[in-house]
């Protein structure tokens, strides 16, 4: 038999009951963030910002200083924290309603100003917390609580691609889209969030990691089906990849 690797809970991930659904991507991403805070020893100098959405209680799971924010306004709260205390690392955590709907102006302008903080954008193509309504990122034809016949792009718009949008701006440092569609996707997500943290520490500027995430409950799928759905369908509308990695030509990748 091979070596048994014991998976330990990261210190920064608090030992409390989770409210997330089985198969939800938040659980994976929270763990990634907690592991990185442990590995990079950030606990004493990091502030997190929780959105309005399923992750509104993120401050119950991460053992770091955290602030709430009004719906959509996380980038402004981040700006306020970072401008007044540039020595602090700031991690912003937002869903697709928070970032791509009500908060569209805020994320574009924080990115445009090049605010030196990291955003984890959890894109699960739906509004989970409020009962499965359509999001700007909902796929064409997808049935939701507010598009019961399926999203009709002629009247309801088509999926909004945030990485591509922000990539038209001059200032962002790092814009990456990854997918939680299997172990490799989870590892890639961790790699780029780590890169974002290191970049922030080196004052590189605005970083955003968009993570395609499963919502088995409102996609009406099993957890396994939802990951397959990301791999085969969601990624067709939201291609994964590195859209912007400024200074990569000059420096080695910080994670190397």
């Amino acid at each position: 038999m091979g070596k048994v690797h014991q998976i330990k809970r990261p210190k920064t991930l608090l030992d409390v009951d989770s409210h997330y659904c089985a198969g939800c991507g938040h659980g994976i991403i929270h763990r990634i963030v907690a592991e990185l805070i442990d590995e990079l020893d950030l606990r004493g100098r990091i502030v997190g910002i929780a959105p309005v959405g399923c992750a509104v209680l993120a401050y119950n799971y991460l053992d770091i200083d955290m602030s709430e924010a009004a719906h959509g306004r996380v980038p402004s709260v981040a700006t306020g924290i970072k401008r007044s205390h540039p020595e602090l690392q700031v991690i912003a955590y937002q869903g697709d309603g928070d970032l791509a709907s009500i908060g569209t102006a805020e994320i574009i302008h924080a990115a445009n100003r090049g605010e030196n903080y990291t955003t984890i954008f959890v894109n699960n193509c739906i509004y989970g917390m409020t009962g499965g309504q359509m999001a700007p990122t909902t796929l064409p034809g997808q049935r939701t609580a507010t598009s019961p016949e399926g999203r009709d792009t002629a009247t309801m718009g088509a999926p909004v691609r945030v990485c591509e949008l922000l990539n038209t701006l001059n200032n962002p440092y790092l814009l990456v889209r990854t997918a939680l569609d299997g172990p490799a996707g989870v590892r890639t997500t961790k790699k780029w969030i780590r890169e974002a943290f290191l970049g922030q520490g080196a004052d590189r500027g605005f970083s955003l990691i968009e993570v395609l995430s499963p919502c088995p409950t409102y996609w009406r799928m099993t957890p396994e089906q939802s990951m397959e759905h990301i791999k085969t369908t969601v990624r067709k509308y939201f291609p994964t990849g590195v859209f912007r990695h400024a200074e990569k030509e000059r420096d080695e990748c910080l994670s190397a």
Binding site: G44, I49, M66, S67, E68, A69, A70, T79, I81, S84
Partner: protein, 359 residues
């Protein structure tokens, strides 16, 4: 040496904020307070402090929230429609017990209105504005010097009570120029330490800044905690100025720009031997009810003068329990009451109450 400077009211707010140690200013252009935003864009960076022109008033108030959460002294300013945009953020500040200073240089409303001075946001400032049971401390300057002094006071009150404070001015006082005597040295006030601020959980338990209490019963308990704080503020922080109220049969009541006009009316009246005085609230919340209650025993009538359709007049009636007539004269939509007109109505009211007393 005389260190007075001639300055606009709007800029005096900026000077007061900087003297008070404001760390961060987040603003957005809107008339008639652009002199303040421009002043801060120059002088905050010059002193190594933070200035950001946000993309909207909504973004600006949320930047204030973030900075305040770290323990910084943060401020934003706007005018009426922009203050409407900030209401959710103000509710969040109060609900999260964060200190912050918000400045409203009022203009005509409702809607887009105009860019003339008005006092139509009294209700918005004093009765809520945003959702939920909360109050902001409201200060009403009536001179360029008070724009400076009361802004400094706003920062101290906000820190003392962990609550947002609002400076309620208007376009006239904002854009007029008067001499200002800056303070030579800032008085050190006894303020509580910010042991709730988000500074990175080094060698301590984590802290959370929030206003969300979903567990059954928790939010009601929290609301009671806030209510008791507001009761303590009401008992200790109300401020008002009395001008020739001794023996006054008719007492004028006004705040801000209108109080300046009423002061002139009182001077004219007293020169003619008419028993007229002025009670000028300096804090609109907490409302100086005790001053009104006291004068209700000696005066025969109040005449409330405002640049709105009648807002503070309701609080005067409440404070005096309608024990005596409370009349109202107002101009709206940018109209400013004329001294002659206020004087004429004061005379008329005086005649009426004297006649009644004699009968």
């Amino acid at each position: 040496m005389d260190n007075r400077i001639l300055i606009t009211g709007n800029e005096a707010i900026g000077a007061g904020a900087i003297a008070a140690g404001c760390d961060c200013y987040f603003g957005y252009p809107i008339t008639p307070q652009n002199e303040l935003t421009a002043y801060m864009s120059r002088w905050m960076p010059a002193r190594g402090r933070t200035f950001v022109q946000a993309e909207s008033e909504i973004s600006a108030i949320n930047m204030v929230y973030g900075a305040a959460a770290t323990g910084a002294r943060a401020m934003t300013s706007s005018s009426s429609p922009g203050i409407s945009l900030k209401q959710e953020g103000i509710s969040y500040l109060a609900g999260s017990e964060l200190p912050a200073v918000i400045v409203n240089v009022q203009r005509g409303g409702p809607g887009l209105g105009n860019i003339e001075p008005a006092q139509g946001d009294y209700f918005q400032a004093v009765k809520g504005g945003g959702h939920g049971d909360y109050h902001v401390i409201v200060l009403a300057p009536a001179s360029v010097q008070e724009m400076y002094d009361l802004t400094m006071l706003a920062f101290d009150l906000a820190d003392r009570w962990r609550n947002p404070a609002l400076v309620l001015a208007d376009g006239r006082i904002g854009q007029m120029m008067e001499p200002l005597t800056p303070h030579k040295k800032t008085k050190k006030r006894n303020l509580p330490p910010k042991d709730w601020a988000l500074t990175g959980a080094e060698n301590r338990e984590k802290r959370v800044v929030k206003s969300f209490f979903p567990a059954i019963g928790e939010l009601e308990q929290y609301n009671r905690h806030l209510a008791s704080k507001y009761a303590r503020i009401q008992r200790s922080e109300s401020r008002a100025e009395e001008y020739f109220t001794e023996g006054a049969e008719v007492v004028l009541a006004a705040f801000g720009t209108v109080a300046r006009l009423c002061r002139e009316v009182v001077r004219k009246a007293r020169k003619k031997g008419l028993p007229v005085g002025l009670l000028r609230p300096v804090t609109l919340w907490p409302f100086p009810a005790a001053h009104f209650e006291k004068l209700a025993s000696s005066a025969r009538a109040f005449l409330v003068v405002e640049m709105n359709a009648g807002q503070m007049v309701e609080d005067v009636r409440l404070a005096t329990s309608c024990r005596l007539p409370v009349s109202f004269y107002g101009r709206m939509g940018g109209g400013v009451p004329e001294i002659g007109e206020i004087y004429r109505r004061t005379q008329k009211l005086l005649t009426a109450v004297s006649a009644k007393a004699a009968s």
